[in-house]
């Protein structure tokens, strides 16, 4: 029997790995994608700190027999929006740097000779 926790934990791991790999690329666009992956991974990780609960949304009701932890959700909600702000800024930074230098390498250096 596969548990939900295992699925989420492994998904976090895979998202992190993808993010790290892409962040280590030489061109700006994959790095931006990598940052997006890392944001996904971190947001889900934070969310999972409240543990996984099904069908107990944190909507107050006296009759409710349980609820999921609302605090990580509130934190992740802000984290998602902040991650958007960061991604947007980095994308534009990458674009401007490309326009300035004519090359989309992360360090703004021209290509080495003999390489495309």
């Amino acid at each position: 029997m596969i548990s939900l926790e295992l699925l989420v934990a492994s998904a976090i791991g895979v998202l992190t790995a993808a993010g790290v790999y892409l962040v280590l690329r030489r061109r700006t666009f994959p790095v931006v994608l990598g940052l997006a992956f890392l944001s996904y991974a971190i947001n889900v990780f934070l969310f999972a700190m409240g543990r996984l609960v099904i069908d107990r949304p944190p909507l107050y009701d006296k009759a409710a027999d349980g609820y999921t932890d609302p605090l990580p959700q509130a934190l992740v909600l802000t984290a998602i929006v902040i991650a958007f702000g960061m991604t947007a800024f980095v994308v534009v930074l990458a674009l401007r740097s490309y326009l300035e230098t004519g090359i989309d390498r992360v360090d703004g250096m021209p290509d080495e000779k003999g390489k495309p």
Binding site: R26, L59, Q73, F84
Partner: protein, 955 residues
């Protein structure tokens, strides 16, 4: 009182800086007044201290770190504070007349008072952390003072060397004192001083001792760290007189005396401290004899006398400590006077070179008298104070056994005294006696009282202590010795005549041989200068440049400008630290029962993994990878719904839309593919790092989730409805409980948008602008600039989408929704207009200015938060009530809703500002001419009259 004393010079340092605007006299008066005031405060505290009390002040500062403003003043502190302030006052008077008109006097006195405050801080600190702060401050302020004449290279180099050496010593002292504090269990000196047994029994005694001595020996210029002191002589003479007689270099001696009760008395202490002191005393006395610069001679003499003091405290016997205390006073008096005298000679004759001087006695009788008395005291000639303490030192040395050799210490001490006599007499004889010369750089004459008055005061002390030691200095020496020893003092007598003792013969021998050496000075000096002695400055410079080269090479190797390398290092370090922590712990798997996954969950997981894998495989094809990453975002949104987080799902999906739109717009101008350029080993390295990072983070997530939760959220759950007026607890947390976070967050979002704006607004200029002009579309274009289907659909959708946004906004407090999500949904509706109809169309019709929108949003949120203050409630407290209206029925109004309006406005402003600006740049790159005539769907509302649709545009 004590606090006032400690703070007065530091706060008062502002006074001369301001007073210099009035004039030089006012400036010196200001500095003098501050010092005098501090001296008065000290005098008011003195009677209690002299009666054996300890004055204490305790103010908590950072109690968790054990760092508190704890001050105490005992007799040792009193003596040093008296020297610091008393000699400080004399120096201020002297400096007023010494400094030239061109010297910035305001700066000088400010530095001097800062230094004075730092020194004072050292001697009255109880808390050792506080003491260390002051210790570092003396290093820094003395750097400023030594390098005061910035245009002199020697001044700058000397200041740098002093800072490097004493600064390094300061680091060493920090380590040592922290160890000491940890052994004693308190950072208060008063407590540490009670723990002699615990400290000396501790295995950390030796490292602590070595580190502390490292600090003391560098500060007090002990061999082999002495070399900075002579180079510090490039300072103006008042600075030298102050730093090297009574203050800076005495700080190390002060620490030795302060910690004497807990550190002294062991063999290690004796061999380390006494030997260092002995070697320094003899070595520096020899060197001093061959220095032709007056200040150089005095500098080495100072080093020698510091060695003298270090040796006495190193002996570790109470009697030697008493002598040490007495000699601290004596040395300060005659050395400060001599430094000032050297300054007078320099000032009046234009040179400090002994070889160019001589015969000044009749030309400058006052200066000569002062120099002779102070010089004789330095030589140890009766009836002056230098004689008494030297005699007592020789007495102590005469019965000290070094490594079973009873003759070694007495013999070397006598040797030191001999050279001391020789160089002291050289100062007197070669400068003032002999025949008059006719080639002085300037015609010498006695200076005004401003220059000779201050040393005269000190010389008066030299004589009076010499003649009546027990009366003038006796009570102070007694109290200070008790403070140093930490108990009763042994029997001693401060008097000129101690009877026929070994010390008397040693003294007579020293004077006799010393005079003989001086008479043969010319011949001996020729031999001395013929020796190839190592130059400490050259060695220091070589070591320093070696270090610099090493640092440069290291930086060049590690910091090669490659972001990939830096990121790899960051991630690698994080992985190492994380796994090291994990492997170092005794990890036990959690036992929380797990939740079974539904088949749909498994399908979602598979979709996420597959999409991630596709992004990785296809990341070079950028458009395609954007589609796959969209799938990842979608699955995560679905996951949030499944896991009871509807708000997150709504946020994630709307953010996803905006992000992808943004990336598409940017990608329009960026290259559409990434080249293959990483080598295979690089792929393996990155793959390895990625796998380890994924394993670590995933494992950590699993470890947390397999354990029970203990959350603070019960409070939020209980109070959301009653206190916050909403049933959507997540939203209530955002706008009420943690509203301050949200407030900060929308500001960050606004700043990010403004950053984007500023990056893109200027993109049309310079190299970037030329590239935009030269840009050619590299993907096929649709024949329609604005596809008709899309235009129609988005315009129909606009009111609907805005409606949905408003609905989500209004229900947000009680049901999933809220300002963030509403803001994003409305932004998307507006963005669709930009996409379908073009920047120009949308910008013409969207009258609101995005910058204003962002600012307005933040201001509304702030005003709402502040509003609660008016009602006496804390910042951002929600007020709410229920109203009822016909037709609509009962509804709720909460101030939180107003706050949410601010959030929504900021989000809308930020998103649209970013994307609109980007699409404008894209449009200028496409080189679309603004349409002369409106296209079919474009009806300009700003134009009067019926819409005009020219025939030719509808083709």
């Amino acid at each position: 009182m004590l606090l006032v004393l400690a703070l007065l010079p530091i706060v008062g340092a502002l006074a001369p800086a301001l007073a210099i605007r009035v004039g030089r006299n006012a400036c010196a008066m200001a500095a003098g007044t501050v010092t005098l005031a501090a001296l008065v405060v000290l005098a008011m505290l003195a009677p209690a201290v002299m009666a054996g009390e300890t004055v204490q002040v305790r103010i908590d500062w950072v109690p968790l770190l054990g760092m508190n403003l704890n001050l105490f003043l005992d007799a040792l502190g009193l003596m040093f504070a008296g020297m610091i302030l008393g000699i400080g006052l004399l120096i201020i008077i002297y400096a007023r007349f010494y400094l030239a008109k061109a010297d910035p006097m305001g700066r000088f006195f400010t530095y001097l008072l800062l230094f004075q405050g730092a020194m004072l801080g050292i001697v009255v600190s109880d808390n050792i952390l506080l003491l260390l702060v002051f210790w570092e401050l003396t290093s820094l302020t003395s750097f400023l003072l030594i390098g005061f004449w910035r245009d002199l290279p020697e001044g700058r180099q000397g200041a740098r060397m002093a800072l490097a050496v004493t600064g390094a010593g300061g680091l060493s002292l920090i380590g040592g004192l922290l160890i000491l504090g940890n052994i004693a269990g308190s950072y208060d000196l008063t407590v540490i001083l009670q723990n002699r047994e615990a400290i000396q029994a501790s295995p950390l005694y030796l490292p602590a001792l070595l580190l502390i001595l490292g600090g003391c020996f560098t500060k007090s210029a002990q061999f082999p760290f002495h070399f900075w002191l002579p180079h510090a002589m490039a300072a103006p003479t008042p600075v030298s007189a102050y730093l090297h007689s009574a203050t800076m270099v005495k700080a190390g001696i002060f620490m030795l005396a302060r910690l004497w009760p807990v550190l002294a008395g062991t063999e290690t202490w004796f061999y380390l401290v006494a030997t260092t002191g002995l070697v320094t005393m003899v070595f520096a006395a020899v060197v001093a004899l061959f220095k032709d610069d007056l200040k150089g001679l005095l500098a080495y003499s100072t080093i020698s006398h510091l060695g003298f003091l270090t040796m006495l405290f190193g002996f570790g016997t109470p009697m030697a400590a008493v002598v040490g205390v007495f000699h601290i006073i004596n040395h300060a008096t005659f050395k400060a006077a001599l430094f000032m005298n050297a300054g007078i000679v320099d000032h009046e004759t234009g040179t400090r070179d002994i070889k160019r001087l001589g015969g000044l006695a009749t030309l400058m009788p006052i200066a000569a008298t002062l120099a002779v008395v102070a010089g004789l005291s330095m030589a140890g000639i009766p009836p002056l104070n230098g004689f008494i303490s030297k005699e007592m030192m020789l007495e102590e040395a005469s019965h000290t056994v070094w490594w079973t050799q009873p003759w070694l210490v007495p013999a070397l001490a006598t040797l030191g005294a001999t050279f001391s006599v020789a160089y002291s007499f050289r100062y007197i004889v070669h400068v003032y006696l002999g025949r008059k010369r006719d080639d002085y750089p300037r015609p010498p004459h006695d200076p005004g009282i401003g220059l000779w008055g201050p040393p005269a005061v000190l010389v008066a002390l030299v004589v009076s202590i010499g003649l009546f030691p027990a009366v003038v200095a006796g009570p102070l020496v007694e109290q200070v010795s008790r403070a140093v020893i930490g108990g009763q003092t042994p029997y001693y007598s401060l008097s000129l005549w101690h009877g026929v003792t070994p010390a008397l013969f040693m003294s007579i021998a020293a004077i006799g041989i010393g005079l003989v050496i001086l008479s043969a000075h010319r011949q001996i000096a020729a031999v001395w200068h013929g020796l190839a002695l190592p130059d400490a400055k050259a060695l220091f410079d070589r070591a320093l440049s070696g270090l610099t080269r090493g640092a440069v090479a290291f930086t060049a190797r590690t910091q090669n400008g490659s972001l990939e390398r830096y990121i790899a290092m960051f991630i690698g370090t994080a992985i190492v630290v994380g796994f090291a922590g994990f492997l170092g712990s005794d990890f036990v798997a959690g036992n929380r029962p797990t939740t079974a996954a539904s088949p749909m969950a498994v399908v979602g997981w598979l979709a996420l993994i597959a999409a991630t894998a596709l992004v990785l495989v296809n990341h070079r094809a950028r458009y395609v990878s954007l589609i796959y990453i969209g799938i990842v975002g979608l699955v995560i949104s679905l996951g949030f719904i499944h896991l009871s987080a509807p708000d997150l799902a709504l946020t994630q999906i709307s953010v996803e839309v905006v992000t992808i739109l943004l990336m598409l717009l940017a990608l329009n101008l960026l290259p559409k593919t990434s080249p293959r350029e990483s080598s295979l080993p690089r792929h393996f390295r990155d793959g390895g790092l990625a796998a380890l990072a994924g394993l670590g983070v995933g494992g950590a997530a699993w470890a947390v989730m397999s354990r029970p939760v203990d959350s603070i959220s019960g409070y939020f759950w209980e109070n959301a409805k009653s206190g916050g007026g909403g049933t959507n607890v997540v939203n209530v947390i955002l706008v009420d409980f943690r509203g301050f976070d949200t407030f900060g967050e929308i500001i960050v979002l606004g700043i990010a948008a403004l950053g984007i704006f500023s990056l893109l607004e200027t993109a049309g200029t310079g190299a970037s602008g030329r590239r935009i002009l030269a840009w050619q579309p590299d993907t096929p274009r649709s024949p329609e600039h604005h596809p008709m289907m899309l235009v129609v659909a988005t315009r129909l959708l606009l009111p609907l989408a805005v409606m949905v946004g408003l609905y989500i906004f209004l229900r947000g407090h009680n049901q999933p929704g809220g300002g963030f999500i509403a803001g994003l949904v409305i932004s998307i509706a507006i963005l669709m207009q930009y996409m379908a109809s073009g920047y120009q169309f949308a910008a013409q019709r969207l009258r609101a200015d995005h910058h204003t929108l962002i600012g307005l949003g933040v201001l509304i949120a702030a005003a709402t938060g502040l509003g609660s203050l008016l009602f006496g409630a804390p910042f951002m407290t929600t007020a709410f009530d229920y109203f009822s209206l016909p037709i609509i029925g009962e509804f709720e109004l909460a101030t939180a809703m107003l706050f949410d309006v601010g959030v929504a406005l900021t989000v809308i402003g930020a998103v649209i500002l970013a994307l609109a600006q980007l699409s404008q740049v894209a449009q200028s790159a496409e080189k679309q001419e603004p349409l002369e005539t409106p296209s079919a769907m474009d009806i300009d509302p700003s134009r009067d009259g019926p819409p005009l649709v020219p025939e030719e545009t509808v083709k």
